[in-house]
């Protein structure tokens, strides 16, 4: 104990007053990392700690007193388990679809000489810039009462557009998720595809493998790390979606929406804090476990 403390103090001292080049390098690293760490502490860790305290507070409006009430409700009330379950499966389904479509787009961009390739990349990356509420409006433009697809189906089937509108159903919500996730998945996979060694694919093709066999047996193993990275990043983004759900509702309560409702109905801040803490803990654990299976340089957003 005393030894460790002394060693830490020695390191701290040499960082502050270096005498050798190695110690100077250590000081440089510390100086370069410092601004970010200060930001992370004051804007990230301190607020998170305060939120943890908030979940244990006896008062709603300020952190005073101690109470385990919120945590008791969170663990015993089955509503919250269902919300967690809904969030996880819905995000997982949207992730799978988005990554599959992302593989197709990245494959086509890399392997086929498509016309207007630059424009396609620009267009596919466009939704990354859109906040969730705008994505919700895009879904309304397609599937709302005046939506293009709704109107088209109404013309062909003769039913009224109002009964055909699906923007505010779970299907519309799914489109919203996929709309904002496909671009992210595609951009991660494009980086992976650029590094694929084409020699093996050519060899497989020339030895008589069909394009599908070549893809499954040669290309897929090569891009697997990229697919895993894309799944992790896309799933994280899917779990964090809020604006889209807030506008569309879609009959599905996900974690972010529930946090908002806890605050907007009765300002139940302890409950919101408890949900938020579990949610962030899950995200962090998922990220660190997930990234053990990927090289970090596959990470792109």
């Amino acid at each position: 104990m005393g030894d460790t403390l002394q060693r830490t103090l020695t390191i701290a001292h040499t960082v502050a007053f270096p005498t050798t080049e190695r110690e100077r390098e250590r000081r440089r690293i510390a100086v370069m990392c410092l601004p970010f760490l200060v930001l992370a502490v004051f804007a990230g860790f301190v607020p998170l700690a305060t939120m943890a305290r908030m979940s244990l507070s006896a008062e709603r409006l300020s952190n005073e007193g101690w109470s385990l009430e919120a945590w008791k409700t969170l663990t015993t009330d089955s509503t919250y388990w269902w919300i967690g379950f809904n969030t996880l499966w819905f995000a997982a389904a949207a992730t799978l679809v988005s990554v599959a479509v992302g593989v197709a787009i990245a494959h086509a961009l890399e392997k086929y000489s498509l016309p207007f390739e630059n424009a396609i990349v620009a267009v596919v990356s466009f939704p990354i810039a859109l906040p969730g509420i705008v994505v919700a409006f895009m879904v309304i433009v397609l599937l709302g009462r005046q939506g293009l697809i709704t109107q088209a189906i109404a013309v062909f089937s003769g039913e009224s557009a109002v009964s055909l509108a699906t923007a505010t159903t779970i299907g519309g919500l799914f489109l919203g998720y996929v709309y904002s996730l496909i671009p992210r998945a595609t951009m991660v996979l494009r980086g992976t595809y650029a590094e694929v060694n084409t020699d093996a694919e050519e060899a497989a093709r020339s030895l008589g493998a069909s394009p599908l066999e070549t893809f499954v047996r040669v290309t897929l193993p090569e891009i697997r790390p990229g697919i895993v990275a894309a799944c992790i990043l896309t799933y994280r983004s899917a779990l964090a979606i809020f604006g889209t759900v807030l506008i569309l509702q879609g009959g599905l309560v996900v974690v972010t929406l529930r946090i908002d409702r806890e605050l907007s109905i009765g300002f139940n801040s302890q409950m919101a804090g408890a949900i938020g803490l579990v949610y962030v803990a899950f995200l962090i654990a998922f990220t660190f476990v997930g990234l053990r299976f990927v090289r970090t340089d596959a990470v792109e957003i």
């Binding site: 990392c33 970010f36 930001l39 390739e117 509420i133 604006g243 938020g276 990220t287």
Partner: protein, 347 residues
């Protein structure tokens, strides 16, 4: 024989059969110089010349796959050779359509007079744009200008802070190896806290300042910092940092001077790209803003939210189109400095 072969290959590229794809990729994979020209998006004519030179190069002892006369005949009849490429291209076309059509539709209908029918009609009117831009007697709350000005100022503040915070850590992470480097790296390149949660945490931690301009700047900076760190990092990774640094040091520059006048200017492209991306994202950040904002001046994203949730369809379309214009400008600028789209991935 070789030339004839290459001609059949390129002409096949136009027909939509799956089996020519291997042929066309192969032609660009041999020489590094050709690969570069191809990646910058060469038109078809140039691909033809590539094919010729490459085929000749392979005849001098390139990949053995080329030695047989027609290596693709065996799998020619398989269903994936016939259908694979059309199906994949179909998926791409459908996806691009789903992504683009609502954007274009929104922009176009912002100029329409009525939206009661199947398609908006009554072109062209600028009244919705005048409304959201505040060029009429609609009152202050109805237009985007005050919110947009406020949000642009906040986003610029967040961007500047991001440069100060993101560039040094990106350098430390790409140049040095140190204790807990992987942990710091993950922390820096992944947004660990989602906007909604950060918002409620901010409100309780800084009750006075959470929703103020300073609170928003700091929040945006933390939420968007991964984009800055990633773009700058990929710039640094393409440079020989150690050699650059040692050359400058051996010529007598101090370490801070080396960093500021040699390293940072070399990463200019990455820093600019990071600035554009973080700025654009912060200008319309919603999740965090929704949780912490406290009235006037109302940020731009809250203006958008109010419009989307309860304004007439065409007016919402005009409000959102303002942001589309910003994103298009951002993407064009990014393409100008070498990125192909709104992404941290470099080409």
């Amino acid at each position: 024989m070789q030339n004839e072969h290459s001609i059949t290959m390129t002409s096949k590229t136009d027909t939509e059969t799956g089996r020519t794809e291997a042929g066309s990729t192969r032609t660009t994979s041999n020489t590094g110089a050709e690969t570069n020209t191809d990646e910058t998006g060469t038109p078809d004519t140039e691909t033809d010349t590539n094919t010729d030179t490459n085929t000749n190069a392979r005849a001098d002892g390139g990949t053995p796959a080329n030695s047989t006369d027609d290596p693709w005949t065996d799998a020619g009849g398989s269903p994936s050779a016939l259908l694979g490429r059309p199906v994949v291209v179909g998926v791409v076309v459908l996806t691009v359509a789903v992504l683009v059509v609502p954007i274009v539709m929104t922009f176009v209908s912002s100029f329409a007079r009525t939206a009661t029918g199947a398609l908006p009609s009554g072109f062209v009117t600028l009244s919705h744009w005048r409304h959201v831009l505040g060029l009429g007697d609609y009152g202050v709350r109805a237009n985007a200008v005050p919110g947009l000005t406020f949000s642009i100022a906040i986003a610029t503040g967040g961007m500047v802070l991001n440069v100060l915070v993101g560039v040094p850590i990106a350098y430390a992470l790409s140049r040095y190896d140190f204790y807990a480097r992987d942990w710091v790296n993950t922390l820096a390149i992944l947004p660990l806290v989602p906007g909604v949660v950060l918002g409620i945490a901010f409100l309780r931690t800084y009750p006075e300042r959470g929703g103020s301009a300073l609170g928003l700047i700091v929040g945006y900076c933390l939420l968007k910092s991964p984009y800055m760190v990633l773009t700058v990092q990929s710039s640094f990774q393409s440079m020989d940092l150690e050699r650059l640094e040692e050359s400058a040091r051996s010529l007598g520059a101090s370490w801070p001077r080396t960093f500021l006048t040699v390293i940072v200017p070399h990463a200019k492209q990455g820093i600019l790209a990071g600035c554009v991306i973080t700025w654009t994202l912060a200008a319309a950040e919603f999740n965090f803003t929704y949780m912490v904002h406290t009235g006037d001046p109302e940020p731009f994203s809250m203006f958008l939210f109010r419009n989307i949730s309860n304004a007439p369809y065409l007016q919402s379309a005009a409000a959102i189109s303002i942001y589309f214009c910003i994103v298009v400008a951002a993407i064009l600028f990014l393409q100008l400095i070498g990125n192909r789209g709104f992404t941290t991935a470099r080409n």
